[in-house]
């Protein structure tokens, strides 16, 4: 009876073309009136010693991450009147300026899509076991912390 657990992980960056195609797939769903999208992009933060973040290398506790993502997904569908929900997160190396997180919600009226998208982003960052290792310009590394 359990619903199939979806894979949320993508190897490497999430391409803008993939996002465009994902949007295009919804044109047959003519009950949708609004889409809300959040994209996380790797920022070239300045670090100590004049170093800069060149890339982030993501790793995860895969089995737990997928279970948790599934739980978040089910709870969000329960809470908001959504037509669609898609979550994609990068694994492995993502260069500065590239996209590492793509959250996409759709609903008849705009409010559920917007509220669900915001809540998903917060929950993904807090509750899914993913770690980002920042690769600096001098090749040193630093474990990212979320604020």
């Amino acid at each position: 009876m359990a619903k199939k657990i979806k894979n949320i992980f993508v190897q490497g960056p999430i391409s803008p073309e993939f996002i465009g195609e994902s949007i295009a797939h919804h044109s047959k769903k003519t009950g949708i009136g609004g889409h809300s999208i959040f994209l996380g992009q790797v920022r070239a933060d300045k670090k100590e010693g004049n170093q800069e973040v060149e890339a982030i290398e993501y790793s995860s506790y895969l089995e737990m991450a997928l279970e948790k993502a599934h739980e978040i997904r089910e709870q969000t569908f329960e809470k908001y009147d959504l037509s669609c929900m898609h979550i994609h997160h990068s694994m492995g190396r993502v260069e500065k300026g590239e996209i590492c997180l793509f959250v996409f919600t759709s609903s008849k009226h705009r409010e559920p899509a917007i509220n669900a998208c915001n809540e998903l982003v917060e929950r993904i960052k807090k509750e899914i076991p993913i770690w980002g290792k920042e690769i600096l310009s001098n090749k040193e590394t630093n474990w990212k912390t979320n604020s």
Binding site: E63, L101, P129, G132, W143, T145
Partner: protein, 80 residues
């Protein structure tokens, strides 16, 4: 001899400090015991903030372990 085997999985900074991310420990019956054994083996963990999940569920107090349990050591998440 106590043969109860616990599977340890480590991630992020913890795996980096331990220089391993997957090994077994024997003779342990709860998560406090695992924590003590790990701090004995890897003293550098003392200063690192991490949570523990047993069979993919986060725990917030000492939890007893069955043989074959998977105990994961999870530094603060930083996805997104």
């Amino acid at each position: 001899m106590d043969k109860q085997k616990i599977k340890i999985r480590a991630f992020g900074l913890i795996a980096e400090k331990m220089e391993t991310d997957d090994f077994d420990l024997e003779g342990l019956h709860d998560t406090d015991g695992v924590r003590m054994a790990l701090l004995g083996k890897f003293p550098s963990l003392e200063k690192i903030d991490f949570a523990i999940a047993v069979d993919k569920e986060l725990i917030d107090k000492n939890t007893s372990l069955k043989s074959g349990a998977e105990v994961a050591l999870l530094p603060p998440f930083s996805g997104g």
